[in-house]
């Protein structure tokens, strides 16, 4: 008898011939998550297993954040030959519980003398006789004793839900425009969850925003990186561009022109990093630069696809999501934005392209962009 962590995956089951590719990626991601705690991770017979870690609770915490993991179960495994002994172990695990229970058996070793319904009945009977205070309810049980008969017998009661999604790295790579607000970390998380590796681009307006504001953005990147195995953050100095825009461009267009510069810079960085798409936290109509017309104007400066997973979300829905993934509190820290200087009082909500182009013609855009990228700082989170 021995303790281990049994890891179940979800959507990868649906994959056909390339399932091994996804499983290899999942195994690699779980190994990376578990590495600081020691122990072994292996894949066998449609399950991943972790054993020998220094701290099982910390291990569960880390593994449940890995995309591609559907749920994890702290389990006991023991030789399956002596069914009586397996039942005794199951009863031992249920001792002290009260209320109702059922046994849910899965027999992947089809040569095992008992089939699943027989295991359910026999083990259920055993537990009922040996654990006082428990009754059977097969429809709405308080507790479920899960039994998996594989190379050995695996027993577990607790099933902990995990992040779901697909293993990071199986879906390509994308660059996230990460601001430090509530939305962009959520947007990044949602795309990463689909197996996409992330890098992030942050625009830094020193001295209008501070070192603390930058640190906050890096903290956000660190929170999401727990699920996606590290994020490279590109911190782009943006003050000069903002000052030039403020100086030379039409007032009501400054935010929009700024957004267009951000997209151009992000695309260039993305290309260098081998990313194939950009991700933003925009949602239709949230602010003036996110009206449909404005989004069209910012979109047209790049040729890469731009993913906006929050496009149809209300703010309150985004906040709930941010709370769930643990970024909300950090996003709400107040170090930010002394840069109201750059926010026009009446931004254009129905911008005209010719006016934008006219304003932008007054700037040496290519030189500004090159300069900003040259001075970009890279932080591994």
């Amino acid at each position: 008898m021995d303790n281990l962590l049994l890891i179940r995956y979800g959507e990868i089951y649906l994959k056909g011939l390339n399932r091994p590719y996804f499983l290899r990626a999942l195994l690699a991601r779980v190994k990376e998550a578990v590495r600081p705690l020691g122990g072994q991770v292996w894949l066998k017979d449609a399950r991943l297993f972790v054993q020998g870690v220094s701290d099982m609770d910390a291990c569960i915490q880390r593994v449940t954040k890995v995309f591609g993991v559907h749920s994890v179960c702290p389990a006991v495994h023991l030789p399956k030959a002596d069914f009586e002994q397996v039942c005794a172990q199951a009863a031992e695990m249920m001792r002290g519980m009260t209320g109702t229970f059922k046994v849910d058996a899965r027999r992947s070793d089809k040569r095992y003398p008992l089939d699943s319904p027989e295991i359910n009945a026999k083990m259920g009977g055993y537990i009922l006789r040996n654990v006082p205070g428990l009754k059977v309810d097969v429809h709405h049980p308080d507790h479920v004793m899960n039994v998996e008969i594989r190379d050995e017998a695996y027993l577990y009661v607790k099933v902990i839900e995990a992040a779901g999604g697909m293993p990071v790295g199986t879906g390509g790579k994308a660059a996230l425009l990460l601001s430090g607000g509530i939305d962009s970390p959520v947007a990044g998380y949602m795309i990463a969850k689909r197996g996409v590796e992330l890098c992030a681009v942050h625009f830094y307006s020193y001295p209008y925003t501070s070192e603390r504001a930058k640190e906050k953005v890096l903290d956000l990147a660190r929170i999401i990186s727990q699920s996606c195995c590290g994020i490279k953050v590109f911190v782009v100095p943006f003050t000069d561009i903002q000052l030039k825009i403020h100086e030379k461009c039409a007032d009501d267009y400054t935010t929009l022109i700024m957004r267009r510069f951000m997209m151009r810079i992000a695309e260039k960085i993305a290309q260098r990093e081998g990313a194939e798409a950009l991700i933003t936290g925009e949602s239709v109509g949230q602010v003036a630069s996110q009206t449909m017309t404005a989004l069209h104007m910012t979109n047209m400066v790049v040729s890469m696809p731009v993913f906006r997973p929050l496009i149809g979300f209300d703010k309150i829905e985004i906040i709930r999501y941010a709370e769930k993934i643990g970024t909300y509190e950090t996003s709400c820290l107040p170090y930010e934005d002394c840069c109201t200087v750059f926010t026009p009082r009446h931004p254009a909500t129905h911008p005209k392209l010719d006016k934008i182009l006219e304003s932008e013609a007054r700037l040496d855009g290519d030189a500004l962009i090159e300069e900003a990228i040259r001075n970009t700082e890279i932080v591994e989170c």
Partner: protein
């Protein structure tokens, strides 16, 4: 590096650091223990108490209670002082630090009310007079305002108290004044005085509440009965040793005001738009080490971070509140609003600063002002 945020905290002086170190590695005994080395630790505490009482000219019958710092000292004076009072009124100036204001507002059995400030940031004696009556049990006014450097008229306030509500106690938060602005507790009429070590080059985590003869308190922290049951918990002996050394070695001859005036004169000459907030920097009603000025239209945070690029570190209104609201509560209470309030900067000096640093800071301010004043919200 030019450090001009000494009202937030100060660099620990070598003597204090050494004293704390020696205490930690050699004189580490618990002062409550019965053997001889422990008595030595207790002796150090007595010396420090005496040094504090003498530094503020505490009257006969006063005592010093060691606490963790200014906030705890204020909390103890207010929450501990009012615990057994069943009804009445507590007054606090609109310039008080949150450690005082929040404590007053947290009182359950006693109501609290704010005393308005005048345009220069002083407690308005006229308004205060109208607020004093037999119902008042406690008046809290700081010695020196942490944002503007206004030296509050404690003696006048005590005189009004003596005339209109003699049983009311007067608590003075001396965190920003202790050693930098002379204080005579006996003559001032104050009943309690809060001080903090880390503002005068002692380590963080040590402070004291000086209790005058009329001051009666209920403990806020109970347990082993240390500090004559007023503050249980093993005494912070390294902090106390550091505090004693810092008080003994505080350079009393440092001319903080000369440096402050040099800074102000230079800034005024280089940036005509500069205005000071609070009392006239040259007046002796302005603390010698604090200068609050506005450089509209450049926002405080922008200038702060721009100076940070030159390794010049200054404060906004108050470092304690930089996590909270944007416009300073104190400046609002003085009727300062709009761009002037949003561009307010606080320079706070210590004897470690030099005249050259003042010149350098003024030049840096001018340089950044020229850049950033061009970019204002349209």
């Amino acid at each position: 590096m030019i450090y001009l945020d000494n009202s937030a905290t100060t660099r620990v002086c070598p003597e204090a650091a050494q004293a704390a170190y020696t205490c930690m590695t050699e004189g580490y005994f618990n002062p409550s223990a019965l053997y001889v080395p422990a008595m030595e630790a207790e002796k150090q505490m007595t010396l420090c108490r005496e040094a504090l009482l003498s530094a503020v000219h505490a009257p006969q019958g006063s005592r010093a209670v060691f606490v963790s710092g200014g906030t705890e000292a204020d909390n103890l004076a207010i929450l501990g002082g009012m615990q057994s009072v069943r009804d009445g009124l507590v007054l606090y100036s609109a310039g008080e630090h949150p450690a005082v204001r929040e404590a007053c507002e947290a009182l359950r059995t006693v109501r609290s009310k704010e005393i308005p400030l005048d345009r220069d940031g002083f407690v308005s004696l006229e308004k205060l007079e109208g607020m004093l009556n037999e119902e008042v049990r406690l008046i809290c006014v700081m010695q020196v305002n942490n944002e503007t450097g206004a030296v509050m008229p404690i003696r006048e306030i005590a005189a009004l108290r003596d005339r209109l509500c003699p049983r009311a106690l007067l608590h003075v938060d001396g965190v920003q004044g202790f050693l930098r602005v002379p204080f005579d507790m006996g003559q001032s009429g104050a009943d309690s005085y809060a001080l903090s070590g880390h503002k005068i080059h002692a380590p963080k985590g040590i402070g004291a509440l000086i209790m005058g003869p009329r001051c009666r308190l209920t403990a806020r922290q109970i347990g082993g009965g240390q500090e004559r049951t007023l503050r249980s918990g093993t005494e912070n002996t390294p902090g106390i040793a550091g505090l004693l050394a810092a008080v003994r070695h505080y350079p009393k001859d440092a001319d903080l005001r000369a440096m402050k005036l040099r800074l102000w004169e230079q800034v005024k000459a280089l940036i005509p738009q500069a205005v000071y907030n609070g009392p006239d920097p040259a007046s002796d009603r302005s603390a010698p080490h604090i200068l609050n000025l506005s450089l509209p239209p450049v926002r405080s945070e922008t200038m702060l971070h721009a100076l940070e690029g030159d390794q010049i570190y200054i404060g906004l209104g108050s470092a304690c509140s930089s996590h909270k609201q944007r416009v300073s509560r104190v400046l609002s209470a003085m009727g300062i609003a709009g761009q002037r309030a949003e561009s307010a900067l606080r320079f706070s000096l210590s004897p470690l600063n030099t005249m050259e640093e003042m010149d350098f800071a003024a030049q840096a301010l001018k340089k950044h002002y020229e850049t950033y004043s061009q970019f204002v919200r349209r």
